[in-house]
Subunit: 168 residues, 2 copies
DNA sequence: CATAGTACTTGCACTATGCAATTATATGTG
DNA sequence: CACATATAATTGCATAGTGCAAGTACTATG
């Protein structure tokens, strides 16, 4: 009476499945960066992403920030809270409409950002060094399309995915 | 007395930084899959990854599983615990050395795996449809190198990264 | 000027995670 | 053969992160 079933199945192998491979690289590369800004500044992942956004976009409101770094409004609000506590950002009320926050990076926030960004650039350089010039170009253009398609997949939800697959 | 500093900085832009772009695609694509196996089977992310590993490798021990899906021993143990509670896996003691677990997928585990894998394959197909044949080949070979390099980056930690960058 | 709507925040319950300590087993040593 | 040491896996507990309901502050509209 055999209980287990090591038999034939759908051919999905984690190690060759594209989304998992992307995830693996992203996760492995994020870990050292995360422990750096965590240990050094007490910053969370959301905090770092928001810091990076307000470093290039002044007086952003919470919704803009959330969109730019794929965070929901709650996480965004908490991340901004963390940054203001650390003195890396300031919240002011919006100019015309005071419901909108106007979040700006501070001088010490920019200093922190530059230190983290240096590490981030070093990581990216290490990765890019493994690729030829033409590979970089291919990946750059392919990633743009994959970003778009993955956003649509996400927006559609799993029900849509099964319908589409069933209707083949 | 200007407190904020929207001035020049290190040129890191989140939206063009390779690790973030990989993360974005992986995260957006994982969300619908995650809500599918979460709602349908009450499976966590770790649970799904372990299920995928034991679907292709019978009688694996916890360390093997952890390595194969990049989970630490604690998360691995808990994931296996979840799978056994759901009836998707069984733990037995190792044959020669009883310290090693021998985790195997059950029939209902395989059924669940096949349903999730179908959705996973549909997602991958949606992504691949956006790429040409030659792009797929380029990305496949590039990802292999990026996986290796990111593993080294992770293993080295952030101190190593700064040393290397400083010694340029 | 009350009503509804928007942008954001907070509180609270729930979940996940990290790490110390524990269990069970195996192996080397006097 | 006892005993210290090592290894694989698990569990307990404190802490941190998340999701969602409700709340605050403001604006727009009939």
């Amino acid at each position: 009476m055999k209980q287990t079933a090591p038999a034939a199945d759908d051919g999905l192998k984690l190690s060759t499945w594209l989304p998992y491979r992307l995830f693996l690289v992203a996760a492995q590369v994020a870990r050292p960066l995360e422990s750096f800004y965590g240990e050094t500044f007490g910053l969370s992942q959301a905090g770092w992403r928001i810091l990076a956004v307000i470093a290039e976009r002044d007086a952003a409101n919470a919704a803009e920030i959330g969109r730019a770094c794929a965070l929901d409004p709650f996480a965004t609000s908490r991340g901004i809270g963390q940054l203001t506590e650390l003195g890396f950002a300031v919240r002011r009320a919006g100019k015309s409409d005071r419901r909108f926050a106007a979040v700006s990076i501070t001088r010490s926030g920019r200093t922190a950002f530059n230190r983290i960004a240096a590490l981030g650039s070093a990581i990216e350089a290490r990765l890019l060094a493994r690729l030829s010039e033409s590979e970089r170009a291919t990946i750059d253009s392919a990633l743009t399309r994959l970003e778009g398609e993955s956003a649509r997949i996400d927006a559609g939800g799993w029900r849509t995915l099964l319908e589409d697959a069933g209707a083949s």
